[in-house]
Symmetry: D2
Subunit: 296 residues, 4 copies
């Protein structure tokens, strides 16, 4: 019997979506049939009342699995990534119909693709994570891990907010805007893109700082090395929030400091050998389909 690339496999389905039950069951049966051990995520289990798979919490999933399969969209993988970041599990995403930037395996061919991955036919696509700390009066009041972005933005207020940005301790600018998105390459096709930021290739060790509707038109997106330490000081009396990956939101006050640094260990995203990021971009962004034939 050949050794599988992955022996213990976790399954996480789109939260609150009961229509995925069938897909999860078929996938689990297939993996069991291939000799893998399969663990089901606690939240996902609530959508599969009849399943007899062992159910574990996220921490156990993270520590025991060497691969976690996400069934859903990019948002599902994003949420999973943040909760699995302290384990060693690789991640792979199966989309439910529409290609995602992260969940790139089609639902229609998932069984064949899984066989191929188990046979070792895959590429690793490490994606770095950011560590976001909120500091008030010298003390950490919040600690988050993000895969896409940290958005520091106005909350229930109509006026612009003032943010002071430092990079490696050096003053960069005092800006008035709706906020600032600090994005990884992974997040560069999400909120940062809507705000006018560039597309960063996932292999790039870089962070983009993209202002949201800046008052000063020359406040353009900046891209800095991924090893730089970013510190943003809130300078508004208004309500400001820090939102991580568009999912978890924390209130901040004037003089609070948001410190963002790269995590040492990246997320290990897995793709079939045929994967190329530019192919995904081309489909998702409706670019021209194919190269021209040289003989025209």
């Amino acid at each position: 019997m050949t050794k599988r690339s992955f022996q213990t496999i976790g399954l996480i389905g789109k939260s609150g979506d009961s229509s995925i039950a069938d897909t999860v069951q078929r996938l689990a049966a297939h993996l069991l049939d291939r000799g893998c051990q399969v663990l089901l995520d606690e939240d996902t289990a609530s959508n599969l009342p009849k399943s007899s798979l062992p159910v574990v919490n996220r921490a156990t999933l993270s520590s025991r699995c060497d691969l976690t399969i996400i069934i859903g969209g990019d948002g599902t993988l994003l949420q999973a990534a943040r909760t699995l970041s302290d384990g060693h599990s690789a991640l792979v995403g199966i989309n439910l119909g529409r290609l995602g930037f992260l969940v790139d395996i089609s639902h229609d061919t998932m069984l064949e693709t899984m066989d191929s991955l188990l046979a070792g036919n895959y590429v690793e696509d490490p994606r770095f994570l950011l560590h976001c700390r909120i500091i008030r009066n010298g003390e950490d009041i919040n600690d988050s891990i993000v895969l896409n972005d940290v958005a520091i933005h106005k909350w229930n207020v109509a006026r612009m907010i003032e943010l002071e940005t430092y990079i490696n301790g050096h003053f960069v600018s005092l800006s008035r805007s709706d906020g600032l998105v600090i994005s990884t390459p992974t997040g560069s096709t999400a909120y940062a893109l809507s705000a006018g930021g560039p597309i960063l290739h996932p292999a790039l060790d870089a962070i983009a700082l993209v202002p949201l509707c800046p008052h000063t038109m020359t406040n353009r997106p900046i891209v800095i090395p991924g090893t730089d330490r970013i510190e943003v000081v809130i300078r508004s009396q208004h309500q400001v929030r820090v939102t991580c990956d568009g999912q978890a939101s924390h209130e901040v006050m004037c003089d609070d400091r948001v410190v963002i640094t790269k995590m040492k260990r990246p997320l290990r995203l897995i793709h079939p050998l045929t994967h190329n990021h530019f192919d995904t971009l081309r489909v998702k962004l409706h670019w021209a389909e194919s190269p021209q034939n040289t003989r025209r």
Copy 2:
């Protein structure tokens, strides 16, 4: 006697500008007085008919100097950088009144600043260069070195041109536009910025691909690792040109390939210890002047 950081110093002045004669003479006298050997660039010498400094061509300047001082604007330094790239000379720029992104030493304080640099009080700011080759029917027809950018753009034609882009041999897109700017971090505040590109920090090992007026609105600026190999195939029958650093322009034809890779050896730009790139950005782009006092 203390050892100077730099012993042999070349001087290059803004081309065709006779008003710099005085500045060059004062600078040369000061450096000779400090025990340096001073060599004058051939082109620059034509603006200083009364000078008794030894005059050398660019190749000799490049091989013999350990520091070359540029007196002029960013364009002067840009032009010098390309001709000095095979030597080992460090470069430093003195501006004639207006701060540049590259020429950051003020004319008013140049003598004091030079003393400080000679005493070893400086930082090195390595800037990578790009190698741009134009290939026709498998043969190299042009070879250029650039510090800022390669622009592949329509020439005497009003219509859009078609370009096919490959990164590390992988097809990226077939685009219709006025052209494409491939920019280093150094060039990111030049043409690429006018075209809507992001600001890349000079320490970033990255290249930006910025389309010029693209037909497809989702053709946005892309930033890729500096180690990537970029290949652009001309797909237009129209006239297209490849312009390097906005200075040298080469005609290309349909099916010609423009191959761009990073040079191994960077340009060694020198700054006073007080230099910080964000301070320059803040002044040049009219950002808010100073951080707020925490106690308000």
Copy 3:
């Protein structure tokens, strides 16, 4: 005795700013000396405890004055404009040091300039206003008048909101974004500009619809005739707000309709004869200073 262009003049100062007391007093004394009747705004009076000028509320000011002078910034004039829109008073703005788009008379020369305006040396610069109604289940729940813009935007939520836009009853788009700014020409240099909108000349009878960080990159700013009827239907369950001129904010719910139409009567802004909108743009946006001399 010559007839003054304006006989009854109202004075409105920047809200909550006691430093304007002197300026208001000097201005009032000067106008009284010129034979005008001067009325002081109620709110402003609280900053001038020693003034003996007649104090009236905004409604009286609006009905009795033929000119109202605003002392402050663009925000002060904006706030005044909305409260004076049912009267016939013309408006003129005196800035406290920094040129505004609307308050263009310098504090330093205000007395001479007022004399000139009183002598009939002025231009009228009519600025149209928008009427913004919020409709829930067929009933109007809010009614606002705006000079700059109506922003329909996400409130205390990190996710995008969905808005359905109709123009003259015809479906335009269903968009996902941070919101939508509907702007007059006057507002086109305010929030809409930060969001990437075009600059509309004040004489243009047009309204700009500018999306805030739209999910779809082809959702670009649209400019339509000022006579068009805009209707935006809220399609998000999340919290959404409608903010008028960046000052007054109203909560809206899913299926609420925001209907925006041009007001019949414009605001009558007054300028010295030397005023030109492009001169103001050039100063405020740091454009090149002056035309070249043809003989170079």
Copy 4:
């Protein structure tokens, strides 16, 4: 027998495209069958050697037809519009497969649609034209009519050009850029959109000035009343060209003046009653497809 809305109908096909012969023949036969007189454009006739239709030049077409049908793409209609602008013929466009902004009648349903138009079921969509004059030393050296845009742009030169803009004789700005696009609402979805300009509704009496890669980032698109007189003075010694509708290009020199004003008589574009410009925008720009059902 009922009176036809249009009695004499001209036919213009895409230039140099012999594949349209069939379509033109079927269309002509159908119109003759309906009792119309059909005239064939001279250029188009060269692609239909077997046709027995009367062939006339563009001037005759323009003076005798009350409707001209364009078979091709937007570029074909654009070219026709400029040559027919002095006549009274209405225009309608049949696309050869892909919906255009201007040619909106599908090839598949063209016969039914033509019957409907002949029966009077159509809307007129007047599109204003611009008159572009190039003046050298006080004398007109060129005269053009445009439907989309006038682009004043650098020609065979890699550097930026300098342009001085006046509106109604008032100085607006001296700008450095790759050029300037002066666009009608019709042209706002063409070159101006690629350059970052707003979408102007065709019913809007307005002209957009959109800079091409401006050196100064605050040089943003400006929209002015259609009745304004635009004058652009060339301030570069470099080669500059003026290109009309992306089709005809004229060389200009330093100090030449380009004067642009609205033509009195608009182009009369014809559409089926179901036409709405926003429907076209939605399809062409890939916006969200349909409004949501209120009951969700």
